[in-house]
Symmetry: D2
Subunit: 259 residues, 4 copies
């Protein structure tokens, strides 16, 4: 399916600072095709485009002061399909692709080891992709989507206890639960047409059955509607905008609709 994305980022910058933008849909052959893409970040002092990890998308360094007004628009066709998790087997650790192994490890917002006792008690009897599906369903059943109850410092443990949060928190919890059961798992920033209110979105991706599987634990999007931007260990790696200094939000708008 084809989607049209438009984004506006407008920030006031009291001092000249560096910012990293990770807002562009990634070109991923077989998964999603970027038909048209345009990023206009004005005339910053510096502008550098670099490859992002895992071959997923690019990152942009911008250095500017006074004001950053960045506009991004794209047409992206998503070719990914939703695949049921239940039939998939867990990959034995020694057969994991080397680049995937790091996603077993604890990270800043997904300190997964602390969830091992819960995961063993609650999901220990389930194997393979069905275990991941059970985790996803447990979150859907137990959590309340609630804006304003978490912030950029909230960890998967905080959210696990609070049983509420926004997309970022849902993704962190599923990633941490999956890692606690020795599944590689990462967080993916994305666009999705049915997220209300329209905003940057975050979902989980779990390595099961020999492949990465996109899962939106909030239930707002399915794999076939998700446009991937970046992947990382957790939110620390994939912020749409990271400011290395003070940046004051003026306006921010995201629109994703069928093209």
């Amino acid at each position: 399916m084809k989607f049209q994305i438009s984004v506006l980022l407008d920030y006031r910058l009291p001092q000249p600072i560096y910012l990293m933008l990770q807002v562009e849909a990634a070109a991923l052959p077989g998964e999603q095709h970027v038909a048209r893409s345009r990023l206009d970040a004005g005339t910053p002092e510096h502008f550098a485009r670099i490859a992002a990890p895992d071959g997923i998308g690019e990152r942009i360094w911008v250095r500017c002061g006074g004001r950053l007004q960045a506009r991004y628009s794209a047409i992206v066709e998503v070719e990914r399909r939703d695949r049921p998790l239940e039939p998939l087997a867990q990959v034995p650790l020694h057969r994991l692709p080397p680049g995937v192994v790091q996603y077993l490890n604890e990270s800043r917002y997904c300190p997964s080891n602390q969830l091992v006792p819960f995961v063993e008690a609650e999901f220990g009897h389930i194997a393979g992709g069905a275990k991941i599906a059970a985790m996803r369903d447990w979150i859907a059943r137990s959590f309340t989507y609630a804006a304003g109850t978490s912030d950029t410092g909230t960890t998967a443990i905080d959210s696990f206890l609070a049983r509420r949060g926004v997309c970022r928190d849902y993704a962190h919890v599923l990633v941490a639960l999956a890692r606690a059961a020795d599944f590689p798992a990462r967080v993916v920033s994305a666009y999705a047409p049915l997220v209300e209110p329209q905003d940057f979105h975050a979902v989980a991706e779990v390595f099961v059955g020999g492949d990465w599987h996109l899962i939106d634990p909030t239930g707002m999007a399915c794999a076939k509607d998700l446009i991937k931007v970046a992947a990382g260990r957790d939110a620390a790696d994939i912020s749409f905008l990271t400011a290395y200094g003070e940046a004051q939000l003026v306006d921010q708008r995201v629109s994703v609709k069928p093209a």
Copy 2:
């Protein structure tokens, strides 16, 4: 200089489990040369050797039950030299090599953003490599090396407050301080001849002046005596042995001496 390393890892494993070993000196042309290397892990059910991140060394998956007795011995020649940090400039963010950028980010044991206010107050007036040297000296001046006061869950924030710990904690604190000043920084597991008691060692590596620089904030080793094993965001990535299940220590010995 040439060193001889011998390591014994002896663990009791009540259940068959996976273990990851990261104990071998890395072959790093121009930095350190592995003249001889031998790893004997018995006859595990599975044994798989995979590349480690950043082109530094290899990781070994082992699956076994009952007992793991692994012996590692090697002769390694270190060609690295100690270089003073003070003359080096901080690399502007947009000129960092893409693979280095992830080491600016917060990680499990180095939640560096929380140290930004301290770093600005204490080191804000110093620029370039001299800033890193000042951080290293502040740690040396303020911290007490004390075994048994920290554990595998201790973060850089815990250690920053406690002002004490072991090599892992010292490394975490320097890495977190450096990242808080926008220097890429990582933790390196290593062997060193003068560490007392002889044990696995951990140090920091900071990217400054266009290159990685090894720094041992405990002051026990210098760059020219350190034999690198693995590098990662923090201890979560570079444990000598990671057990995916229960493993009971029977014996562990490390010997590093001039060859």
Copy 3:
């Protein structure tokens, strides 16, 4: 000096719940005299007035649903004087009044033991009340008053690292620093005429020289302008309003001016 206080608390309560109010100026002979006091909490299902700890003020239980609109007004004369801390001696632990001893202990938002290394390094060479004054001055020098950067879960450690916050956070940090040097210290909720914007205020109280001394680490108020409401180990004990269930803020106003 005489002050006139008016307070409005207006909350929407989706379900009938209990609320605890601690908003009334305490009657404290020799310290502050309540000339006139009136609390109108509407017609709640239950209303119970109980003594608060340490003989400081009273607490009010209210049970109601739908809406809580509480109005409080009072005329209070403060007789307390500002006394310099520097000449005062630290009371030897075995001579502390029994009721004061609990304020040496760690509490929810003042986990003071973690600050012992900093306190010893920074203030270890200073004795008596001068040590408390040095802590107060260090906070004034190092911290920035900033609304919206902390919340009800923020601890003294978070604030110590962030070097910013609101009155509650300043009070928590001073209390934690004092306890880390074995001075009993507690948090006091108060009214003060010069707090901008006018709001509920929180300050520290440290036991030194045989008596409690009010200290406002934000520098916004002095002891002679503070009208005490309640005292406790930290904010967990002295909230102006504690809701045992969901309460949505509609309006809240505080006015304190010379009468």
Copy 4:
């Protein structure tokens, strides 16, 4: 039933420091009767006995250097009976005795608010003492008693996640769960004859049905076998020995047997 208690505390003190001892069985008419009691703490520089909070027992300040060797022995008759929790009603908040109200609040090691979502999901449908019994049974079913897996910094949240620990951790978890359901709850230090290995013990006490009820969530002791020493918000208040400075354990022995 009558018990004989003998305790030895032997500590090396590199510097003269203050220590607080809370080791003596409390005299509690109707609950436990102290028939004989003797505390010998040598000849410290200072020795002061003060009342402990809530009228439960006494605390002893000792100041000494070099060595502390304290011996305590007593004969205590416990008159308390085990009473089933199930028939008891939860006391409406506005009817709680004023001195009990503080035990609803969060404390250093029992940050109970974070457990509210779990408590509502798991125990929300149960009322009164049966809710406390269900919490106690959930802990018994879910936790593993394991020495060496926690330390003096471990909170109820850490233990709730780890699902293991020692008596102190079990008590913290039950206290935090109870407070999360608006039951006043405190931690009690105690002696008990069947604790293996014999050691200082910690249990929970919950206010339900108008009275405090002793509960040992480890299942090692019942109310009629517990000899109370001290009560407090959590372990921060009731340590058997609190050292205000460095104290190195030489020997510590506890013996409790039927007299």
